[in-house]
């Protein structure tokens, strides 16, 4: 027995040492496959719709737009449809889907709970509250505002609402400068319920037009996007989404527990604060420009873990890519199912995400992913 142990100390090979079967690392190949799928979904989604544009033409228009001439025949109509309408919408789908999924993966790691989603810390409800308050009280609030700034007002109110509610939840869960994750979970539930009640009050006092507007907003849509409102939102999603993977090793260690992560040398309190802030920024910005889109943040990380396991170094980027793909596909469905009208995308993600999640649960019972 002691002999086998000495192999620890003295790395020299020992006769009783068994060869170790290293499990195959799926991360890199899955990332590559997702990258290809992402490009495919992106181009397909831009070509999709009442005016159908073949994928190759879409690719040619996009290449042309960034200064790489392809010599392909491009009609002015196709070009303007792609660049003015479809491209910002597809970019928004990528950013929101990818953002919600990476935020969900980080939240599930932080809470060590595969049922966590980005809305858990109150950011979605807070953003909804900001948006709905703007819709219902809008006339009074926006009246004196420069008309050029009006389109920004609702997303900005939503974004700020999301951050304020997150900060309240974080504040409640902080004791002696340390965020208690279990308390945060409970505080999130309580504050979400409270914000839900306020949403109910706004719904109650709204008139018919406002009611219709806020109901549709709550169900989510990528339709209303323009280049001017897209760019700030993409920045607010992309920057934190690029920073999150830097927390991957710390998140891996946190899965063992906060003490273990500390013993492994990670600054646990800083990690918790960073992840809460980054996910709140991503989710807040996403909800602000596209409304409440459920299930992407919850289901996508599960799908990725099925393929590559819980290692956040691969899970975070892979979730972002898959989330982008899924939301683009959902948006294509939303644009097609009830032609010529358009279904709110939140309905599509819930329709597919809900049953799919149940299937996952039934399949992987006993082994939480």
């Amino acid at each position: 027995m002691a002999g086998a142990v000495e192999a620890t100390i003295d790395r020299a090979s020992h006769p009783t040492r068994r060869a170790i079967v290293w499990p195959k690392a799926m991360g890199p190949s899955v990332l590559l496959a997702l990258g290809i799928a992402l490009v495919f979904c992106f181009i397909l989604s831009i070509g999709w719709g009442a005016i159908a544009i073949p994928p190759l033409t879409v690719a040619a228009i996009l290449l042309d737009a960034i200064g790489i001439p392809t010599g392909a025949e491009i009609t002015l109509r196709d070009q303007s449809v792609v660049l003015a309408i479809r491209l910002p919408r597809a970019l928004l789908g990528l950013a929101v889907g990818g953002g919600l999924a990476i935020a969900g993966a980080a939240m599930q790691g932080l809470f060590r709970n595969p049922l966590a989603d980005p809305g858990l810390i109150g950011v979605s409800t807070g953003a909804a509250l900001g948006a709905v308050a703007t819709i219902v009280l809008g006339g009074a609030l926006v009246g004196g505002l420069d008309p050029a700034l009006r389109p920004f007002f609702l997303p900005l109110a939503a974004f700020i609402g999301g951050l304020i509610v997150t900060l309240i939840v974080q504040r409640i869960a902080t004791r002696d400068g340390v965020i208690d994750i279990a308390t945060m979970l409970l505080a999130g539930i309580a504050v979400n319920a409270l914000a839900g009640a306020l949403l109910g009050i706004f719904t109650f006092i709204s008139d018919d037009q406002q009611l219709r507007e806020l109901t549709f907003w709550m169900m989510g849509s990528l339709a209303a996007i323009t280049w001017t409102s897209l760019l700030p939102a993409i920045g607010l999603i992309l920057l934190p989404a690029l920073l999150l993977p830097r927390m991957a090793r710390a998140l891996n260690a946190m899965l063992l527990g906060e003490s273990e992560a500390h013993y492994l040398g990670f600054d646990v309190d800083r990690t918790k604060r960073m992840i809460i802030i980054l996910t709140a920024l991503i989710t807040g910005a996403g909800v602000a420009v596209s409304g409440v889109i459920g299930f992407v943040g919850l289901v996508t990380p599960h799908l990725v873990r099925l393929a590559i396991g819980p290692d956040h170094r691969y899970l975070l980027p892979a979730s972002a890519m898959l989330g982008g793909c899924l939301l683009l596909l959902a948006d294509m469905a939303a644009r097609t199912i009830v032609l010529p009208a358009e279904l709110p995308i939140g309905i599509v993600t819930a329709c597919f995400g809900g049953p799919f999640f149940l299937w996952l649960l039934a399949r992987r019972r006993g082994l939480s992913l």
């Binding site: 003295d10 500390h262 873990r305 396991g309 082994l367």
Partner: protein
């Protein structure tokens, strides 16, 4: 108190100076001083609630004492990321619900060395640590599918991987084990203690919280008895583990025999003096 035994008159690797911990008005540790010498195994013993785990957390840098100080290599405990390269802690139980493979869990032990180590060296160290903890055959299993004892050995491999650098020399490294044998069968209990002993023979320092006095006697160079947050006594196992001392600390009657195989004390429990005859003791299960 200063050990003086086991070490070669060298400086203590870790030193606690009059450490007290008070949380919410209750005193968990009261003025505890101890030092850990390089190349020794020290065991913390004591009844439940004696403050063993609290002391371990203080010494590991996870809990800042209300009074007193802890020094590692003659300096105050450093930042977590520096300390993690020299000190590893195996906790009583680690819950991990996510489906990491066993190799991935052991590899987490290399996290503090990301900047210093190479992938090849990490791989060799991970393999050696897994062989030492007898889990090489579990390498590609998913952690949540393992038994409790297997999981504990995976965690042991992880903390070993954290402290190894491939040279075979672990001097200056501190291995802390909080009830490492709790969920293990007899053979693997012995194996964990053998790892602890080999670690100290290779120059490393081990601090272990144990409940089994005989396991402690078989592995420890140095034993510390805690009760009610205070360090009652410390010294070599045969000095400390006397019937009087054990009765004082654990409130049980014992007899100390000579161990048939080793020159260490063998502690056996005796029925307590005021225990009722067996016929009456069953009455405690009768409803009145």
């Amino acid at each position: 108190m200063s050990g003086g035994q086991g070490g070669q008159g060298s400086q203590p690797l870790l030193l606690a100076n009059n450490v007290s911990v008070e949380i919410g008005g209750s005193c968990l540790l009261d003025n505890v001083s101890l030092d850990l010498l390089p190349g020794t195994v020290t065991c913390l013993l004591g009844p439940n609630g004696a403050g063993k785990s609290t002391l371990l957390r203080v010494l590991a840098g996870a809990l800042t004492p209300s009074k007193g100080e802890v020094q590692f290599r003659q300096r105050p405990l450093g930042r977590p990321e520096e300390l993690a390269r020299e000190r590893a802690v195996l906790s009583q139980s680690t819950t991990l619900g996510f489906a990491f493979s066993v190799v991935e869990v052991v590899a987490l032990g290399r996290s503090p060395h990301v900047r210093q180590s190479s992938a090849t060296l990490d791989r060799q160290i991970i393999e050696a640590a897994m062989a030492a903890a007898d889990i090489a055959h579990l390498a590609d299993r998913r952690y949540p599918t393992l038994s409790g004892g297997e999981q504990q050995r995976v965690q042991l491999a992880r903390v070993l991987a954290q402290l190894m650098d491939g040279s075979g020399d672990v001097s200056g490294k501190l291995l802390m084990l909080d009830e490492p044998t709790a969920s293990l069968d007899l053979a693997h209990q012995q194996q964990v203690l053998a790892i602890a002993r080999d670690f100290s023979r290779a120059g490393g320092t081990v601090l272990a919280v144990l409940h089994d006095l005989n396991l402690a006697a078989s592995v420890a160079d140095h034993v510390c008895l805690l009760k009610g947050g205070r360090l009652i006594t410390s010294g070599r196992p045969e000095e400390v583990l006397t019937a009087d001392m054990i009765e004082d600390v654990f409130a049980i009657r014992t007899a100390i025999l000579d161990h048939p195989g080793q020159a260490i004390p063998l502690v056996v429990t005796l029925p307590s003096a005021n225990e009722k005859p067996s016929g009456q003791s069953e009455a405690r299960f009768v409803l009145n």
